[in-house]
Symmetry: D2
């Protein structure tokens, strides 16, 4: 921790801060600079509580070097985590995992048609929402339990594990009976009570980045899961909110190599929600893999023009098949990269 003093701070004020730091059992090291003095704090274990210091006279600013997370970093867990979902491995050293399916489960037939299509093209995990977070209360909110039944049945019919979103703690038991991976959506990334409960389960979790979450906050949210004991966490970038409105959100691909460097957790990318536009999904999906993503989550609907939700960003089965062809060929390139996304 670094305590930055005012330009005009007196020697007395500096000494008072030093004394306060030492009362906390830590060491303080004044660092006179060009126009002001800073005071380094030494020997701390983790983030220092600055409540006793920040209001002392002459203190201008406090800069924390320690971060609000620890378990998710490579500092304390250098080896990459590979999350197992049945036989599938998600993470470093494994081919990218493709999760595909409709935004929301609409009927038994729709889910089965979607499952057969994405399986045939080579997807690994089937997605489908039964509980839908919608901006306004007057929009379609999902089929609920019925949707879970259809999703599971479709996954079993084609032999694919499934993923679906959970929105509230009281749904956890129900959803866990039907899904292989729990998805925590962007709007719930800081629903800390939900994170804690999911952290106590032994089930893989996909945690989506909040629309306006910094990387620091994203990792701190994942830390809630690990702190409760659940280390089977897959992160997911899905676009952030910026001033640009030409896309639904701004896909922030730089987050992929950054997080792969900072954290041992795998990270995938959802280009469907990020862009909100079908023609952008394949191209941004492939760019995400080149950026180092461990997988993709792609919306595919057997009849996008009849989708009850997010049809405009869903690929057709044909479009998805083309994408999977491209990905197959792109892998040849990626396997021999000279300067890969992350030094391994």
């Amino acid at each position: 921790m670094l305590i930055v003093m005012d330009h005009a701070a007196s020697e007395d004020e500096i000494q008072r801060v030093v004394a306060a730091v030492e009362q906390m059992g830590l060491k303080a090291e004044p660092i006179p600079g060009g126009s002001r003095t800073a005071i380094g704090v030494l020997n701390n274990q983790g983030r220092v509580d600055d409540t006793l210091i920040r209001d002392l006279p002459g203190v201008r600013d406090i800069i924390h070097v320690s971060k609000p997370y620890k378990l998710v970093t490579r500092d304390f867990h250098p080896a990459s985590t590979v999350v197992q979902v049945g036989d599938l491995s998600v993470g470093d050293g494994h081919p990218p995992v493709i999760m595909a399916g409709p935004c929301s489960v609409e009927s038994e037939e729709q889910m089965l048609a979607a499952a057969r299509a994405v399986k045939a093209s080579g997807a690994h995990i089937l997605r489908g929402g039964a509980f839908k977070p919608r901006t306004g209360p007057h929009s379609f909110q999902g089929l609920g339990k019925e949707g879970l039944v259809y999703l599971r049945a479709a996954g079993d019919a084609v032999g694919m594990p499934v993923i679906t979103e959970v929105m509230r703690i009281s749904q956890l038991d129900l959803v866990c009976r039907y899904t292989d991976i729990l998805q925590i959506g962007a709007r719930n990334m800081q629903n800390f009570d939900l994170l804690k409960e999911v952290g106590r389960l032994d089930v893989p979790v996909l945690l989506k980045r909040g629309m306006s979450a910094t990387i620091e906050e994203f990792l701190a949210a994942a830390e809630y899961l690990l702190a409760e004991g659940n280390g089977r966490v897959i992160l997911c970038e899905r676009g952030i909110r910026t001033f640009e409105r030409a896309t639904r959100n701004t896909l922030d691909l730089s987050v992929v190599p950054i997080i792969r460097n900072l954290s041992h957790l795998p990270i995938i990318v959802d280009p469907s929600h990020a862009t909100g536009q079908r023609p952008l999904v394949p191209v941004m999906g492939k760019a995400a893999l080149v950026a180092g993503a461990h997988g993709l989550m792609i919306e595919v609907h057997p009849n996008p023009e009849k989708a009850l939700c997010d049809g405009a960003q869903s690929l057709t089965p044909e479009g998805f098949d083309q994408l999977m062809n491209d990905i197959g060929r792109l892998m040849h390139y990626l396997n021999d990269e000279v300067s890969p996304a992350v030094n391994r």
Copy 2:
């Protein structure tokens, strides 16, 4: 709804869109413009579902004129809503309501000292958090039920109604036993399941704007409460996330007159969380009242330098007392304004 066609859209493509709109039982009116044709959709009730249209060939863009909310607007409810909290009235035609107290309940003594101080200075409602949403899991998370007991006791001791945050559905019964107003925090503004449950209760609610919520999303979240039957809603602006980091968030005061114009619900402002800096709190609080806010939420701590949470933005009892003095005098000015915030 307006359907914008490609510059190169053919007459056939235009006719196909017109036919699709008419199949939905609506009227379509082509509007040839300078470089492209647009098609107006008539006779709709509320927002039109565009799934059958957006993928037709030649369609470039769809512009919705209807909004994802209705009950919160003055269109359908022209008179201003005044929310009653016991004897207190929050809303148009009533003096601004001041909610004050510590960020989190820390002890019986702390709450009582805070309650006495803010009551003496003229605050109307006592605030204090028992359940705290914190970015990382290693920070103080609140006293829980014990905190509710202390908050209630302090409120009763000085004769003030109290407000506290609820973070999860399973806490609702407990929290309702102790509080007069339920607060839904910024991170939960789109926790739609929580909104629905609170919408079924007959208790006043303070709904904070999400850190990156547009005004449209903010009102759509309030619509969830009204759609379930709870119209006792107070909105609260608390700063949005922008590129500027000199303040914790960017206080967006323009939202106050905009929402007073669009909606019949009262709106207050929280300058403590918005700025994150004690010296800015009084000045921005007063600016908020001039902007037309129906009240303020202010963090006050008997000993800010010992606060377990957000001490850097808490006023001292003395600072709060000065602010209340200023507000009293500012009211003389506001009561005689020539060009008030909103045309009434």
Copy 3:
């Protein structure tokens, strides 16, 4: 300056950084923390050039405590600057200065009508644009020299100093012949060559904050003017770009007390460009004065519905007169504030 080392940095890597700092003639002080070591750099004069250090092995991050400006701060110039414009004084201890007039000069009659109206209501400085920066080349670009002539004539007719924007260095001579204050617009805040030229003149300057400029960048831009010798600088907040589109920009009023605290330069607010909506202009203008602004810049047009530019945000003469009445009464309140915007 603080150099943050990797968690896994070796003692050798730390010593190599220390040696590099000492080669620069500075002192290095290792500060071992909970999970990593930081190295404080001492005895520097101003911002340290970190090029020799940032690439050394084991270095994770470098935190600069010194800022890219100095002359604009109270650290080196504690007394508030009052900018003189003829007889008018802009800054601490003087009544707020109101600059008013149309967005762009359209004709001799329009300018004269505007000048008479704003003068009658009590404005101090007449504004009007002769050179207009417009997003697209197909919009009205201003009357140029003719506009300057009308502006000056109107100002002289009613006895008001005038302000107008300069967009390029080659216009400087011409514009200076007609104006009392040079305005540098938001889009030119980082047109450093223009800043340097204006910095060499002895004429008051109004520098508008760039749409996406941080406070640090805003002050660094002003530093360009002061560094060349021109200290007659008035800063102007006019809204920043955020995700919210309900207003043209997001008016960031917290910047007013922050800058008054950091800098000795006066700061005014332009609520017309910030909000883009006539009904919001008076209310946000008054809020700005309560936030501590040293003045306002307000668009007023004799016939807003016929304005060639920004009519939707221009006040009518009647609306402006009401605002000036309110401001007059608000001053009674502000003169006796208990807890003013800035501790003086």
Copy 4:
């Protein structure tokens, strides 16, 4: 254009708007909707001036369908533009063009070493800044004319065309004597006077996207160049400003397929400025090519640790050589893509 009326607008108010539109020689078509009436405006040529309408009673909002640009779109120029720089072709159907070199020219030796290195690795165009826009006035501002001389000499020595930034109109003659492509930097994207002057020249231009420019504003800025007659324009994405600070800017790769679809102009990407971090440059550069970029601009410095500017984001010659190897192999993949970035 669509005029949205208030929910409570009377039939009289609607008729008054219709009459105003017809007075402008256009047709008006009322479109009654669910909760309000909208009025479509027909037969306009380009963007309609709404000044006579927006202030009429009952008008709530005006939605423009026409954009502030025209010449840059495929609507009026369907075929892709290929910009010639000597023998080099930049645009559709040609291999990506790699521009590489140091951020700023520092000496004859440095430029020559850089030129030899990037040429040896296969770069096509040599970059180097002689005039540098810097946030604060106390930073290195470039060598000026001397820098131009070194840049040109180095380009000639190795047989590469060169690109350098121009910051002011009065430098145009000088810079044009030394460079093959004029670069207009992000801070000058809306320096409209500079754009107009450059638009009158017959020289290729690289126009960088402003830090907070929407795609609409970016294309409108390019429109200034085309409107004056210079159609040899290459666009360049270089990151936008968002709340995320883990990278210098947020690289917005979705802009590449969007602009390739909307506009006939080529677009390249600068991952060095966007990320600000050396380890991210190669990975984001390759992702940009997969996203459809027509080229890259990469900072390469013979000794990054001694760079006077932006050393932290400069590749070493070795790192650049690895990247070029990867790009060579990536091209095999891209040439056979099944679902390319843009439908051609």
